[in-house]
């Protein structure tokens, strides 16, 4: 079954869960008990949730307790699930058979699960977001930081290219200039003898008539009558 991914945290009031004849039920608590509510986002499951999956969950919690306390006393039968809903959310309690069927304090269970969160997640092919233990805030995993930030590498590459380009252009410009100077020194004499087209203005060669001299401090007068109109 597929559907929109639920990303909403479901918080509910914590009615106590009491052990009653070895089963958990919704009764007002006589013992202060921390109950962990588990919410599995149903549609993140790539499998159907049935009794065998519940069994696996109990096994994982028992495993977590064993790892945490380093005692191999917790059995699968010690983990009780109740108040199942279709969205796959339920409450569970861990009992301690050694201590006369009382519940293990919630803080211990919390710590145990926090320690083995990865294993529990991967057993169900879920992530921290999709398998939520309410009351256990996960420490967010830090992002993987490479030893050298990526942007420094890219910046180094760009910098090297730019410096290389500048050096190349400057050196080639200098070389070009040297070549031009050498050539003009060789052909300087020849050029004077060649006929260059001489532009004239009013019969006076432009080399003599310096057009630019007339630009400075010219009195503005639109005097077109000196030239033949078209």
């Amino acid at each position: 079954l597929k559907g929109p991914l639920n990303r909403f945290l479901y918080s509910t009031s914590t009615n106590g869960v009491e052990l009653f004849q070895g089963q958990c039920s919704m009764q007002p608590p006589s013992l202060p008990v921390l109950v962990l509510e588990l919410l599995i986002f149903y549609l993140s499951l790539q499998y159907a949730w049935d009794a065998s999956e519940e069994y696996l969950f109990k096994a994982m919690v028992a495993f977590a307790m064993r790892r945490y306390s380093n005692k191999e006393t917790t059995q699968i039968s010690n983990v009780l699930l109740c108040n199942m809903t279709e969205r796959v959310s339920f409450w569970f309690v861990v009992t301690d058979s050694a201590r006369n069927v009382t519940t293990v304090p919630g803080s211990e269970v919390e710590a145990a699960i926090r320690m083995n969160r990865n294993r529990i997640n991967s057993a169900f092919l879920l992530t921290d977001n999709t398998l939520q233990f309410l009351k256990i805030s996960s420490t967010l995993s830090p992002p993987i930081e490479p030893t050298v930030p990526v942007w420094v590498i890219v910046f180094g590459v760009v910098l090297c290219l730019v410096v290389a380009a500048i050096l190349f252009l400057v050196v080639s410009g200098i070389r070009q200039r040297k070549k031009n100077n050498n050539e003009s020194a060789e052909t300087g004499d020849l050029e004077d003898k060649c006929d260059t087209p001489v532009t004239t203005e009013n019969g006076i060669p432009c080399d003599i008539l310096d057009l630019k001299a007339g630009q400075i401090n010219g009195v503005y007068a639109a005097d077109d009558e000196r030239f033949t109109p078209l």
């Binding site: 929109p4 890219v154 730019v162 500048i166 203005e201 007339g214 639109a222 077109d224």
Partner: protein
């Protein structure tokens, strides 16, 4: 004596030897295509990608095209043609041209030079920001996609959590912005490095004037079009693209009654075509005199406007996609809340029947619904939330939603960089060419040194934009240096050419260059319509500016964006005063 300064076209024609032979050391374009491409690259800049779509969006979508086209036809194209023609005819940069027309108008040339310098300062800083984003785009995941964790790793950094990850990356990681313009802070070293790289790249491309920019422009002018096409195809295939396009292009004719629309259309055309910078005059001065500048002007102006339209299609489709995704997220969150509260089976409420369910539940269990504090989701609201923060905030947010986001981010920022770089060429040319003519340096100093000095001085001056308050300064510069002076300069350009140089002489020059007399449209526009339009726009602009206190938007680390009012800061525009003084001096 005007005629002594300019060889009369009849006289030169009779000799049939263009004056260019005397000045054969003036560089020229390798071919016509290079020249056209340079002008197109100069005109097409960052504004085409983000300012035009923004204006289209706030001014009633398709209806904005009407004042835009009118402004293009009566203001943009005539002024563009005028600048190209005058540069090509007089074959000098902006200072030389205006000194030639009249010594009293020399200030216009110097004004152009100053504006080009100031604009290139802050324009390259924007490119430095683009460069910073570019070199950060190679990470997986993108650094602006998620908030970083706080010190003890129990949650996200508060500033980031309160706003969005994208905002946080922009304001904190890129700019490290301070809370107001008076709090300057230090130079941000990463921005200084990026700015240095950008100026180095500009130096490489403009090292020998148009010889080098002419080669670089092939890449920087054509590449953005390639990328825009890629984004167009990608954008149109995204979900929600059609909603975005429909929303942004739907004309709302009522908006035309608002005079601000007409003013903004006129100013947008004006700034978009990069008029009055002196760069166009410089570019066309390297042409051969017998070049059809009329056809060039019309072609380039139309290409510029077409590019704006073409760019707005992928922009709107991607904005539509982003709005739709945000809307779906909002809906999904509400659906979860309701499903959890009422313990309904999971697929009972979907996006399409959400409103029915919501209405039903609201009437039957109003208290429960109220306790959930559901946010009302409105697609319109998501579509409205875009604007001038388009490139660095809105688009980056959209990119992280697309699969393969690194590639799209790299492509996008390289496109922005080349768009800006080709405009920078025009700006630098607008500085370099007049300076070469002013003979501020002796002939023996190579051009490479002069362009190096320009880039170095600009880099050092632009370091003020890498301070913590740098982006506020940039906004001030953009609002006040890149707007009013251009209007003034353009007005004096038109009146100078038409009434001082003489419209008859100018028409004859154009006829000599293009082979046909400018027709009725050009005559009427140059003589009457354009100056009048410029004057109206200028007066309206000044009136509107003086009505409000100068202000800028500030980022408040207490997560509330509030405007801080500048009082008596830049109350008069520096460049305007400068050019007035120069004109009075002459």
């Amino acid at each position: 004596l005007l005629s002594a300064r300019i060889p009369n076209s009849s006289m030169v024609r009779s000799l049939d030897i263009p004056e260019v032979l005397k000045e054969d050391d003036r560089p020229k374009w390798d071919n016509k295509f290079q020249y056209i491409l340079s002008c197109v690259g100069f005109a097409v800049g960052l504004g085409n990608v983000w300012r035009f779509p923004y204006l289209c969006q706030i001014y009633g979508g398709g209806a904005f095209l009407i004042p835009y086209v009118i402004a293009l036809v009566f203001e943009g194209i005539p002024l563009f043609h005028l600048e190209l023609a005058i540069g090509q005819r007089l074959r000098k940069g902006s200072i030389g041209v205006w000194n030639t027309i009249s010594p009293y108008f020399g200030g216009v040339g110097i004004g152009s030079l100053m504006v080009s310098f100031i604009v290139s300062l802050y324009y390259n800083t924007i490119l430095a920001w683009v460069m910073w984003y570019f070199i950060n785009s190679f990470q997986e995941p993108l650094p602006w996609s998620a908030c970083p964790l706080n010190g003890n790793r129990t949650g996200y950094i508060e500033e980031c959590h309160e706003s969005t990850a994208v905002n946080y990356f922009w304001y904190r990681r890129a700019l490290n912005i301070s809370s107001d313009i008076t709090d300057n802070g230090n130079l941000q070293w990463w921005l200084v490095l990026c700015l240095a790289i950008c100026w180095a790249i500009v130096y490489i491309c403009t090292i020998r004037g148009i010889e080098s920019t002419g080669k670089a422009i092939y890449v920087t002018a054509i590449f953005p079009y390639v990328v825009l096409t890629i984004f167009l195809i990608r954008g149109l295939t995204l979900p929600g693209a059609t909603e975005g396009l429909v929303y942004f292009f739907t004309p709302n004719m009522n908006i035309l009654k608002n005079p601000r629309v007409w003013l903004d259309a006129a100013t947008q055309i004006f700034f978009s075509l990069s008029l009055a910078f002196g760069g166009l005059i410089a570019f066309s001065s390297y042409n051969s005199p017998k070049n059809d500048c009329e056809k060039d002007a019309v072609t380039i102006a139309i290409v510029n406007s077409m590019t704006s339209l073409y760019a707005s299609i992928p922009v709107f489709s991607i904005l539509g996609f982003k709005a739709t995704t945000g809307y779906w997220d909002c809906l999904d969150r509400n659906i979860i809340g309701i499903i959890n509260e009422f313990d309904l089976p999971d697929q009972s409420i979907m996006r399409d029947n959400y409103t029915i369910w919501f209405g039903f539940l609201n009437t039957t269990h109003p208290k429960k619904i109220a306790s959930l504090k559901l946010r009302s989701c409105d697609l319109q609201e998501f579509l409205d939330a875009s604007g001038t923060g388009l490139a660095f905030i809105v688009f980056t947010e959209a990119i992280i939603l697309m699969p393969g986001s690194q590639g799209w981010a790299v492509l996008f920022f390289v496109m922005l960089f080349s768009l800006g770089l080709s405009s920078m060429f025009g700006n630098i040319e607008g500085i370099l060419t007049p300076l070469l003519e002013l003979h501020v340096v002796s002939k023996s100093v190579p051009k490479e040194v002069l362009s190096g000095v320009i880039c170095l001085v600009s880099f050092v001056t632009a370091l003020c934009f890498t301070l913590r308050s740098g982006s506020y300064w940039l906004e001030v510069f953009d609002s006040y240096a890149g707007s009013l002076p251009l209007l003034i300069i353009a007005f004096f350009e038109v009146t100078g050419v038409v009434y001082v140089y003489g419209i008859k002489r100018f028409s004859d020059d154009v006829k000599w260059m293009t082979g046909r007399q400018p027709n009725f449209y050009w005559q009427v526009s140059w003589r009457i319509i354009s100056p009048l339009l410029m004057l109206t726009v200028f007066i309206a602009f000044v009136t509107l500016q003086t009505q409000e206190q100068p202000s800028y938007g500030a980022w408040n680390p207490k997560y509330v964006c509030r405007p801080i009012f500048l009082i008596h800061l830049f109350s008069k525009n520096i460049v305007t005063i400068f050019s007035y003084l120069l004109m009075l001096q002459n």
